[in-house]
């Protein structure tokens, strides 16, 4: 590989990794924005997306073989919708059981139940699917786009599965942005995040807004889990811990509570990760990324695009 090819390849890798991290980061940041809680179980909803979509493909009789034609379209769409619904509901249930009863308790309490919810979900997954690595078949066709379709003479690899990941996540993020900017419920979410008591005296049902936020965050994480399965083909009950940690870092990096920040943070972490894997060494990646997290928190605690406190007040 020439060095330009390496750089190009790593940029593409950063984009794909960043896109699913950004999807997960959105859930962290939206929930934090509204109830100032770090939902530690959020990464595990991503795992649910992986496991549930895999199970649904099996139910529908995909049988481990690559889907084609119309079967690909309907099955993929249906699995995506059901997975998002299920993961949205799981996240709402986590809120109902672990956080809602503690809405008025000191902040430490729901933080602890968040860790507990995370452990509970992980152990449910371990009992359900077993503790070992799980293989996720190539249900989505894998074609080398640059060589087979565009006939380019390059060593860079970009497949339809990479394109799927990007093609699924980026429109969803844009959709979320439109929803939050333009719709009445989206505006109510922003209003609630800025001042929940003020929102309530506008007639906004704050609990309903919180539920919607958990649902949307869960659904996005679920879609990310499914896209991840079709892209990397392997995962296990603990995969959400790892992905969640990186996504949480992305949310903080961008400015926790800030939607644009979470997306930018996700891509930034994606790029930092591939940069570190390629040029520093994979074994250093965590040390590298979490050092950056510390530096950001020390020198720019509001994150890269977060408003400063004065503006928030």
């Amino acid at each position: 590989m020439s060095s330009t090819d390496i750089i190009l390849q790593q940029l593409l890798n950063g984009l794909t990794i960043g896109s699913y991290l950004a999807m997960i980061a959105l859930g962290y940041t939206m929930v934090y924005g509204i109830i100032e809680l770090i939902n530690f179980a959020h990464g595990d909803v991503f795992t649910a997306g992986f496991l549930i979509s895999l199970t649904l493909f099996e139910w529908f009789g995909a049988g481990g073989k690559t889907l084609t034609g119309f079967r690909l379209v309907w099955m993929f769409t249906l699995v995506l919708i059901l997975t998002m619904l299920a993961c949205g509901i799981i996240n709402v249930i986590v809120d109902r059981i672990a956080y809602k009863p503690l809405r008025k308790a000191p902040r430490l309490a729901p933080l602890i139940t968040a860790v507990a919810a995370s452990f509970a979900l992980e152990n449910i997954y371990a009992n359900w699917k077993g503790p070992s690595q799980i293989f996720y078949p190539d249900y989505f066709p894998r074609v080398d786009i640059l060589h087979n379709w565009l006939h380019l003479n390059t060593t860079v690899l970009f497949t339809t599965q990479d394109a799927l990941l990007i093609g699924l996540t980026i429109p969803m993020m844009l959709g979320l942005r439109l929803f939050i900017q333009r719709t009445k419920l989206g505006k109510a979410m922003r209003a609630t995040a800025q001042n929940a008591a003020a929102a309530s005296i506008m007639g906004i049902d704050v609990e309903r807004v919180i539920m919607t936020t958990f649902f949307i965050g869960g659904a996005l994480a679920g879609a990310a889990g499914m896209a991840f399965g079709n892209f990397l083909h392997t995962g296990r009950y603990l995969m959400g811990f790892d992905a969640g940690l990186f996504a949480f870092t992305a949310a903080v990096l961008g400015g926790i509570g800030n939607i644009t920040g979470a997306v930018l943070g996700g891509f930034l972490i994606g790029f930092l990760k591939v940069f570190s894997d390629q040029w520093i060494g994979g074994q250093w990646t965590r040390a590298f990324i979490f050092t950056i997290l510390i530096l950001v928190l020390v020198f720019r605690p509001q994150g890269l695009v977060g408003e400063d406190e004065a503006e928030k007040a």
Binding site: K184, R190, I201, M202, E311, A313
Partner: protein, 237 residues
């Protein structure tokens, strides 16, 4: 039956006993004012009516229905809107979006538009700043936005907690004129004010609060002439 009735209402902040048995009523079509010095419990009364605070004892009735254990949004749905103490403008929503939030419970788009025009007539300043973020407005502009936003809910009962706070003297007069004209158009108003002189001037009736209790009540013009009120709240020696 009065539109709003409070019977022996006690409210608490943790162990602080802020309201010690408040009983009052507001009739349909009235402007009723609550006056009293700092910490008397005026805002706490407003918060208790609007469901932000639930009384430990006592009843709040709206058109005969108990609302004291309801969530704030349920009370808004019954036609009670407010401009709260401290204004509570959404700082990162635009002026337009803030006004839209005021109309959150409504779906009659055409009439929402009309009401917004009416707000702009009352406060032309707001229409010049529609796309500006709420947090960047001056204190006086935020006050106008808070009142305008409350009007966007088309309330039957409007709660105003110190609407003249932070306004220049010219604007204070304009605000009180606005309050009177809103009332003449059919909105019942419960008005909390530090500026007792103006409040009693526009109100029909009034209550005087002191450390969580009502110490005086009556027609506004009688309160205006009351010796104690004149000394304590109208700044006469």
């Amino acid at each position: 039956m009065a539109m709003l009735e409070l019977h022996d209402v006690h409210s608490y902040y943790g162990s602080i006993h802020a309201l010690r048995g408040i009983s009052l009523h507001v009739n349909e079509g009235e402007i009723v004012t609550m006056i009293g010095s700092n910490g008397a419990g005026k805002s706490t009364t407003i918060r208790t009516i609007s469901g932000l605070l639930h009384p430990g004892k006592g009843e709040v009735l709206l058109n005969g229905e108990r609302i004291d254990q309801m969530a704030p949004h349920q009370i808004v749905a019954r036609g009670v809107c407010q401009s709260p103490e401290g204004r509570w403008i959404f700082p990162r929503l635009t002026v337009l979006e803030n006004l839209e939030m005021g109309a959150f419970i409504r779906n009659d788009h055409a009439e929402i538009k009309q009401d917004m025009e009416r707000v702009f007539e009352l406060f032309p300043r707001l229409s010049e700043r529609l796309q500006q973020k709420g947090g960047t407005l001056s204190g006086g502009e935020q006050q106008m936005l808070a009142i305008g936003r409350a009007l966007m809910g088309r309330p039957h009962l409007l709660l105003l907690d110190e609407p003249s706070m932070g306004l220049a003297p010219v604007l204070v007069e304009a605000i009180f004129e606005t309050i009177q004209s809103i009332n003449k158009q059919g909105t019942t108003i419960l008005l909390v004010e530090q500026n007792a002189l103006m409040a009693l001037y526009v109100a029909h009736r009034g209550y005087v609060l002191q450390t969580g209790e009502i110490v005086l009540e009556g027609l506004a013009k009688d309160l205006e002439e009351n010796e104690t009120v004149r000394k304590a709240y109208l700044g006469e020696e």
